[in-house]
């Protein structure tokens, strides 16, 4: 087993293992923190897929941003530590059938696909190329994305300001 395979399996186990903790933990705080390892593992898998910019975005946005929001959201709930998690099994027969059909389809597709394996190529970081394209060929899409961000920002301010005035009047 070469080093690449070692890193892949290490991060794959980290991702799947922490995802199991997220789903099966009885403590919602533990779930939220285990999600950090899931996001981080996914970022590492992106790196192994030569998608370093996506990996950086994953770290910046998901680990640095979304996760903080999720943890704050968890901390807003009334009973953080004694929350009753309803994880009972419902609709056993149809659920089993559907899962079996989907699993069968996935396995069929996986085995029937002619996987196009490209030999390992000379690789360079993609960040420089993306930066150059953003300010040359794709100026308009970037500015449109900027306007979209502005709209989201104004929307967030509207929500935030409304909540605060409500809190003040109480």
């Amino acid at each position: 087993m070469d080093l690449y395979a070692f890193f892949f399996y290490f991060f794959a186990v980290l991702t799947v293992g922490s995802a199991f903790v997220v789903v099966f933990s009885r403590n919602i705080i533990y779930s939220a923190f285990a999600l950090m390892f899931t996001f981080f593992g996914v970022a590492a898998l992106y790196v192994l897929l030569y998608a370093d910019f996506v990996a950086v975005t994953q770290l910046l946005v998901y680990v640095g941003g979304i996760l903080v929001l999720i943890i704050f959201g968890v901390m807003l709930t009334t009973k953080v530590f004694s929350v009753e998690m309803k994880t009972g099994t419902l609709n056993l027969l149809p659920a089993t059938l559907f899962t079996a059909i989907i699993a069968g389809m996935l396995i069929f597709v996986f085995s029937a696909t002619d996987w196009n394996v490209v030999p390992d190529q000379e690789w360079d970081t993609t960040v420089y190329g993306i930066g150059a394209l953003l300010v040359n060929e794709f100026i308009l899409p970037m500015q449109v994305a900027g306007v979209l961000l502005l709209v989201a920002m104004i929307g967030a301010v509207m929500m935030a300001a409304r909540d605060w005035t409500k809190l003040k009047s109480k």
């Binding site: 030569y50 807003l76 530590f81 420089y128 930066g131 150059a132 301010v157 909540d163």
Partner: protein
């Protein structure tokens, strides 16, 4: 390709090793003469005012929401920033137009009082 990531792996390894070794070493070799005072949350520090397992103010969440948007803005700035010398004045102007759009949002946030804590 993995070679360029060796420093990160090395840093991760050292971070994990360091914390495990330090914690283990202090429990193994440290003298244990506990008093009530030593068991407080911040020994020689602030007195805790209540349980940590409490609800947090919704304001934290709102600040978090505002932060995410600037976080995403950073995703656009980062690929430009790594090679801004090569992109020259033109790239600089383009990125400033992008930043100006964000600045409108920031000033709006500011003037609306969304950044005020109380």
């Amino acid at each position: 390709m993995l070679e360029s990531y060796y420093p990160i792996f090395l840093m991760l390894g050292i971070a994990v090793l360091f914390s495990v070794v330090m914690l283990k070493a202090s429990t193994l070799f440290g003298p244990k003469r506990p008093t009530d005072e030593k068991y407080t949350t911040y020994e020689s520090g602030m007195e805790p005012v209540g349980q940590a397992r409490d609800r947090f103010s919704v304001k934290f969440y709102m600040v978090g929401v505002l932060f995410i948007l600037f976080d995403i803005e950073l995703v656009f700035l980062f690929p430009y920033a790594v090679n801004f010398y090569e992109l020259g004045l033109f790239g600089f102007v383009v990125i400033w137009i992008f930043l100006a759009i964000q600045l409108i949002g920031f000033i709006y946030e500011w003037k609306k009082g969304a950044l005020e804590w109380d």
